[in-house]
Symmetry: C2
Subunit: 417 residues, 2 copies
């Protein structure tokens, strides 16, 4: 099927989805969950093909594990869909409303965005996850997964489309680009006559490619250097606990700590204690010249080179730098892509406000860990993406961020003659 | 100055603007208003150069009038800036706030977007207008005006930068691309490492060019076919008044009526009355075959060809088409770029809801004119642009739509030991 045909069908489905009830959308979601369970053996057989192909292509065991579906994982995916059913549907709610002097009642009503293109890598659960979130918010979706999960994805989309049909919804509400030609990704990014938004789910390279080649708005996010600045007035015990959590709890996460900035007045107290804690946790330190002198006993210590403070470690490595004050900390962060999650540890009100307003990050913390940036932690119920751009939405995006609004003006009938 | 230098300076200025007080921003705005008046003769002299060059280039009198500055027009522009001073500053306000179970107080705080690139045509008032709105919201701006007002714009930017300096703000808060080379527009559209948003102010061609070439989010809008659908239950007298207002009040506006859709059950009653009214107003009708028969006495009547219902008239021409019901009306609108402002005239509750939810437009009216789509009418205080896209903002954009938000998480100190 050509992308033109696919886009046109998605647009038609989007019109239908925009006017159906939450009950009908939930019915389709429940059908997806049941079909996932009913077709377990077919899905696992398709997944086995992907795993075999991946093994032949020499993928690492870690990567193969990311691709793998098991009965337990499928049940988990089905339950995630049932969780989406339980979330409030944002569509139709009015954001605000006012009466104009001329008698017009003017409201902003939440509406679906329309057609969403999703380009993602590896994990097959994204196929179900993103399709379910789009469906719940009345958006049609066009999916393009990675080639490593090609067979799994095709089978999962069949499950979704069967569920849509059983609930009386158009199967074009969720479509998959099943031609592996990479040129189709570029074509999708220019399909602005049908597609309203592109969500890339993958690494920085994928986001950059989308940003540079898309004529459709793209949700950029999911990476950035995370900083913790320990101010002179910070509580040392508490600081060590926050640093430990931010660095160690899940080092591969995009909100994990990359660079620790330490106020010079507290460096001599904090850094030797940091060494003990980080040695215990197996964290290697990469430090600037000033910090080096206070970190002598650290395991695997080395002095930072030109690019170290621009590196998102995603592992048990931590950059350390001594700064003169909150302003130098902010200046460092601006130079080194602080755009995701950053924290100040302080008891100084002025410095806290200065940091909150001066940091360019999507999420800013005072005396808390950068690890909190997460849709579930924030109580959003779902996480579509973590945006680090300035437009539309920032930080964790939930269901509401898959909607737009329209202005509704209704004439005042109270005054009709 | 290279765009790289300009972009870097704008980014630096944006950091400063993000943390200054509303009072300081207002002081700079008041200085701009005073400087406009103090430097009147210099500005008018520069404008006279543009007018002379325009006349030599053979611009129409209407176009020359758009470019022309007079003492009265300059005073008007200065007063518009003073009006921006009186508007509330949206920056710093918190959109919402919640306490998480773990003691984190989580808020979303309004912040400036950062650096805004504005590409516009003709009218020199845009230079002051957009710079003032960006400044009020703490955004740095990079402006690129049309070559027809090159000398005027350079002088106006000098005024702005002098005012910025007098208020102690960085002059890079408002910069102008003074190299007329068109390649710089393309370069600006790829300056995503410094620029966060592009606002094109001009025709459909400019918007299309920006959308297709920009790696920065673009605010698309300002055009689209506007429809009024007269349902079977509509009040005829009221309908004629709304149609008259929507078509005749300001035909050159983007929210003026382009196509009238009439329910077949009411066509024989409405259309002969419409002919009388439109003949009186000097409006020519372009009609589908069914409507033609009921419009015989209309002045300048002709049958619609393939592209007429895709034409934004911007003049005293009106397309007319008879449809079977609200669903056919919506189907027609979907085929013919209803994305800006559309109205249903009806007393039928189901059809009204169906139209509100089914129309893809940024603004939808029930028994009111499409002409209401306007920042001033909506009480927004200012109008930056009228967006017809789905992301970030839709319809008239005021000051709040020049802001983004950041998540602020603060640890709970009530429970600190």
């Amino acid at each position: 099927m050509s992308l033109e045909t696919l886009g046109q069908a998605a647009r038609g489905a989007a019109y239908q989805l925009a006017t159906i009830s939450t009950a009908q959308k939930n019915q389709a979601l429940l059908a997806i969950a049941s079909e996932l369970e009913a077709r377990q053996s077919t899905i696992l057989a398709a997944n086995a093909k992907d795993i075999a192909a991946g093994r032949e292509a020499g993928l690492s065991e870690a990567m193969l594990d990311r691709l793998l579906l098991t009965p337990e994982r499928l049940a988990g995916i089905a339950n995630d869909v049932r969780k989406v059913v339980s979330l409030d549907d944002p569509v139709g709610a009015e954001l605000d409303s006012r009466m104009l002097e001329n008698g017009l009642r003017l409201s902003r009503r939440r509406v679906p965005i329309g057609v969403i293109g999703v380009i993602y890598e590896a994990r097959p659960n994204v196929t179900i996850d993103i399709a379910a979130l789009c469906l719940k918010t009345g958006n049609a979706s066009i999916l393009r997964g990675g080639r490593e999960t090609f067979h799994s994805n095709l089978e999962l989309v069949k499950v979704i489309q069967a569920a849509l049909a059983s609930a009386g919804l158009p199967i074009a509400a969720v479509q998959y680009i099943d031609n592996p030609d990479r040129a189709l990704v570029a074509e999708l990014l220019r399909l602005d006559r049908y597609v309203d938004m592109i969500i890339p789910r993958g690494g920085a390279g994928l986001h950059k490619m989308c940003k540079e080649n898309s004529s459709i708005p793209v949700i950029i996010g999911g990476f950035g250097i995370s900083h913790v600045f320990v101010d002179a007035s910070a509580d040392l015990t508490r600081s060590l606990a926050v640093i430990d959590n931010a660095k160690v709890q899940r080092p591969s996460a995009c909100n994990a700590l990359d660079t620790l900035l330490v106020h010079e007045a507290i460096a001599a107290d904090l850094l030797p204690q940091l060494v003990l804690r980080m040695n215990e946790q197996g964290v290697s330190l990469v430090a600037d010249a000033t910090a080096m002198g206070l970190l002598a006993d650290a395991d695997g210590l080395r002095e930072a080179g030109a690019e170290d403070f621009d590196t998102e470690w995603l592992s048990l490595t931590l950059g350390v730098k001594v700064v003169a004050d909150v302003h130098e900390a902010l200046a460092h962060m601006r130079e080194h892509n602080a755009s995701h999650s950053d924290a100040i540890l302080t008891n100084d009100l002025y410095n806290a406000e200065c940091f909150i307003n001066g940091a360019g990050s999507a999420a800013v913390y005072v005396n808390a860990s950068t690890r909190f940036t997460d849709g579930a932690q924030f109580g959003l119920g779902a996480e579509v993406a973590v945006s680090t751009q300035m437009l539309h939405a920032r930080g964790p995006m939930g269901l509401a961020e898959l909607t737009s609004y329209k202005w509704v003006g209704q004439a005042d009938y109270l005054s009709r003659p």
